[in-house]
Amino acid sequence: MEKLRYERPIIRKLESAMPNKFGSRTELLPKTHIDGVAVKELIDNYGSPLFVISEQTIRETFQAEKKAFTTRYPKVQFAWSYKTNYLNAVCNVFHQEGSWAEVVSGFEYEKALKNGVSGKKIIFNGPDKTEADLRKAIANDSLIHIDHLDELYTIIELAGDMKLKPRVAIRVNMDIGVYPMWDRFGFNYENGQAWDALNKIMRSDKLELVGLHTHIGTFMLTAQAYGTAAYKLADLALGVQKKYKHKIKYIDMGGGFTSNNTLKGAYLPGADTNPGFEDYAEAITSALINSDFEPGDLPLLILETGRALIDDAGYLLGSVITNKRLSDGRRNTIIDVGVNILFTAFWYEHKVTPAQEFTHYAEDTVLYGPLCMNIDVIRENVSLPLMNKGDHFVIHSVGAYNMTQWMQFITLRPKVIMIGTDGEAHLIRDNESLESITSHERMPDHLKKFEL
């Protein structure tokens, strides 16, 4: 007779008090496959932990956002936010879908060029563009979004020097009724900084003012804030049109849309409460259409949404190292996924699902990563089905920021797989080795030998 699947014995006291307002367990079914490929097979073939990206989900999510905007507004362009996930394979899925590139450093700019994006379709954001970066961007006719006056002066100087007319926009920050106000980037709308910058650009006659850009925040739980921002950018664009008889070609609303993740401290799951593409699209396009732009002369709407497009397409597979108990009796489970590769564990209560069959019994558990560091906590309290040592699990919605903000700290970074629309698993980033880390180190001669 075949032996049964083992589950550790548990006993739980029945409480007759008020129900827990945070609810009970949420995982009802195991996540055994991703796009038809078995989780176990992926781990057997590529190791644990392992990042897995679903190409199908990226494309479906992109099409959903595109539909939300293009059904409401006539001219829409997406630009892939490189910092959110700049693995080349991921970038190219977005470029195949028609996204331009949105970069915030010389490194990302080079990456976009190497991926084959034309310089004209690269939006260069961020406060740190070196003179060399700017020269390159001007030579390639990229869209340069100016963050501060020193940058503006440098571009004016370079334009004269290079005898080219760079295409620029300014980044505008503003009060959109949401705290905290993101006022560290760009020029402020309310206090006149934005107009000051626009006047300088228009009067220099050396730059072509093509757009206005804002990026109001991150993981914005209020779609209407975008409506306020779009209204203010429209006001600036119409002001420039009136004052200088100059048409602003595009309004770039940046990103900051939510994914299905649940922010720490949220009462309800993000998937149930976060705004969707339709909500953001309705707020932004309504503000632009209701502004004083002539109906046939609306500016191009650019969107740089990153997280909302890639987060839910990313999974992190891992394995249980051990189950323990804390001094106060709480269950804790140590897994091979740490905050060094799951940076977003600091922001979200990530959904974690076992990858094999489980019973309906669950235990409140603290989920710790493998690092010998106290900060390595993946979930502070999660009601998890019972998993044994060596069992696998899937962490959901990890596609945004983890594969760019991950750290080589204590352990090496794992492989990244993309499940293609062909149903095959493709290796898109290899794991690090000792050599890949130490090859950057140099040893002074006098430190080469030692005796113990």
């Binding site: 032996k3 049964l4 699947r5 083992y6 589950e7 550790r8 014995p9 548990i10 006993i11 739980r12 006291k13 029945l14 189950n323 108990r325 009796g329 019973t359 019994y361 019972l386 044994n388 040592k389």
Partner: protein
Amino acid sequence: MNLKKNIAVSDSGFIFNPDTGESFTANPIGLEILGLLKEGLDFEAVRKKILEKYKTDKDTVEKDYHDFINMLNQFSLIEHEG
């Protein structure tokens, strides 16, 4: 170390302590171990039974058994001699 004699254990996993009026639930393996303890089996005998029936190993059963006993202890379901 024995399970208190008056602890009622139903087949469906419902456990009742008449001394305190407290009720508990256990998963099937927990229930099975409670049954074996009621029969007076010691750790080695319990482990043997579990290993015969389930896909697991000696170390895991030992670790989980003692963890389970600690839980029973914490819930005052264990009778201490002397």
